[in-house]
Amino acid sequence: MLAVPSIILIALISIYPFVYAAGQSVRDGTLISAGSFVGLDNYAAILSSPDFWHAARFTVVFTVVGVFGSWAIGMGLALLLRTRVPASGLFKVLLMLPWIVPIVVSSTAWNWLVATPESPIPLLFKTLGWGQPLFLADPTLAAITVCLFKVWVSFPFMMLMTSSALASVDGSVYEAANMDGASRWQQFRDITLPLIARSTYISWILMTIFCVNDFPTIYLLTGGGPVQATTSLVVLAYQAVFQNFQVGQGVAIAFLMTLVLVIVSVVLYRQIRKSEIE
């Protein structure tokens, strides 16, 4: 009974739209009219479009870099902050800022730092004699910049997750390992990592979901450009619906993406629960 309000909300905000979207994906509707039934035409059009595959590839790259980049940095910082260091409480708050500051604000600042040839970072590169790179105008560099931006935004979350997990590890196991002469690296690899494995898997799953579904990080920094170089599937779906008014195709893109994501999530979710029972 106590869950009823939440279930009603979920049904209205999440389930109804999802079912409706499934219906829209087989129609040629616009934002105002439902359109007529076109079968799997939208899916066929998408699957044969190079833009779709390009966006799918970028989404995978963006997600892999986002998940493991932010994990590596977050893990490193969590380990560093776990040791005895002056003012560690202050560092913890300061290092959370990239995650706390609204993306609209941080993307504006990044823009100021890298966007034009006269921005500080390109000028710095020029001074160092590394040319004057156009971070947001060159397709490859733009993709790298967006991925870096995502890592910058996300590492605090990973740091928080890892810190929580590390806090539950009993310190006495390290003492035993020290006596046995295990090196720091061995201790990390053979004790720390396995002990926080479950939490690590969960943080990977969550971050995968965050990355695949991410819109503002990409859209606000590059708008998906230059020439679609940083268009992810979500950005492509957004453009299809709100810029080209092809609701059917846009929804079909999002729907395909969702289907893959949900399957991956459910499989991984069961995997965690299995490892839990052992």
Binding site: A3, I13, Y20, P102
Partner: protein, 290 residues
């Protein structure tokens, strides 16, 4: 479950235990790590730093800090209106989201049957649905009932999109409250709902604050839902306002950064004050534990 200890920890890690201190090397290592952290933090915070500096730098030249840009944007643009819109939407989202997620989290925490595990899986699946899929049908639905271009409509979508994580966070906290407490109340003739309200909820302030901070960040920082649902600049929330302001004033960085500072201040202040309550560790636990 290991989460009982981990959720409490959150950001504020416990002081390493005695055994660890012994193994953590001499004083020199401590200051080495400190220097390393200072360097990393400095690099990481460059974007935040330039935002603040540009906001206080006079546009007319000179280097003495000034409030000129702030006075300027507040008097000549809709920034004040946008702030008030954002505050309204965020406040409604935080209150409703906690009020709805708390009882649902209680069910998740105490329930042990198939229905509850199904509910748990449902929360997980909808969390992985991209916002973009639900936004389009909701836009059409809301257009029919006049909720497009309205702050109320926007708040409803925000509450919906906080539901999964908010419920997990509440459930994770409730797990740390022994069930024997409310069972004792039931024996004294208290109803299930009464026990939840009077016993469990009264002891859950940290869990409630954690959920509130999360909902606050979702509503205050959102861009995608706002750009779809809001059309006229009088109902813009700050992210949309800043974006439109940025596009109109690409060369006036002082004003743009002044709006940016106004926008990032509330989340930073709230987080700085309440960070010891904020924990995402519990999410993992309640996600995997059921």
């Amino acid at each position: 479950m290991t989460t009982v200890s981990s959720r409490r920890a959150g950001l504020s890690l416990p002081v390493p235990s005695k055994q660890q201190r012994v193994s953590r090397g001499p004083e020199r290592g401590k200051w080495l790590r400190f220097t390393l952290l200072v360097a990393i933090t400095a690099v990481v915070l460059i974007p935040v730093f330039v935002t603040v500096v540009l906001a206080f730098l006079p546009t007319t030249g000179g280097s003495a800090p000034t409030l000129e840009n702030f006075v300027n944007v507040l008097s000549t643009s809709l920034v004040g209106q946008w702030m008030s819109n954002s505050l309204q939407v965020t406040l409604v989202t935080v209150i409703v989201s906690v009020a709805v997620a708390a009882p649902a989290g209680y069910v998740l925490s105490r329930g042990r049957n198939r229905l509850v595990s199904g509910y748990s899986l449902l929360l997980f699946v909808i969390q992985s649905l991209p916002v973009i899929t639900s936004v389009i049908p909701l836009y059409i639905l809301f257009a029919n009932v006049g909720l497009v271009d309205s702050l109320l409509g926007l708040s409803i979508v925000y509450v919906g999109s906080t539901m999964s994580v908010a419920t997990w966070m509440m459930a994770a906290y409730f797990d740390s409250i022994p069930a024997s407490l409310e069972e004792a109340a039931w024996i004294d003739g208290c109803s299930v709902f009464g026990g939840f309200l009077k016993i469990v909820l009264r002891n859950s302030l940290p869990g409630i604050l954690s959920t509130a901070i999360f909902s606050f960040l979702i509503a205050w920082n959102d861009y995608l839902i706002a750009i779809v649902f809001l059309k006229s600049d009088s109902v813009f929330t700050l992210p949309l306002g800043l974006q439109s302001f940025f596009q109109q004033n690409t060369t006036d960085w002082g004003s743009v950064m002044a709006v940016s500072v106004l926008m990032m201040l509330p989340p930073i202040v709230i987080f700085a004050l309440l960070n010891r309550f904020f924990s995402v560790g519990g999410i993992g636990g309640s996600l995997a534990g059921r």
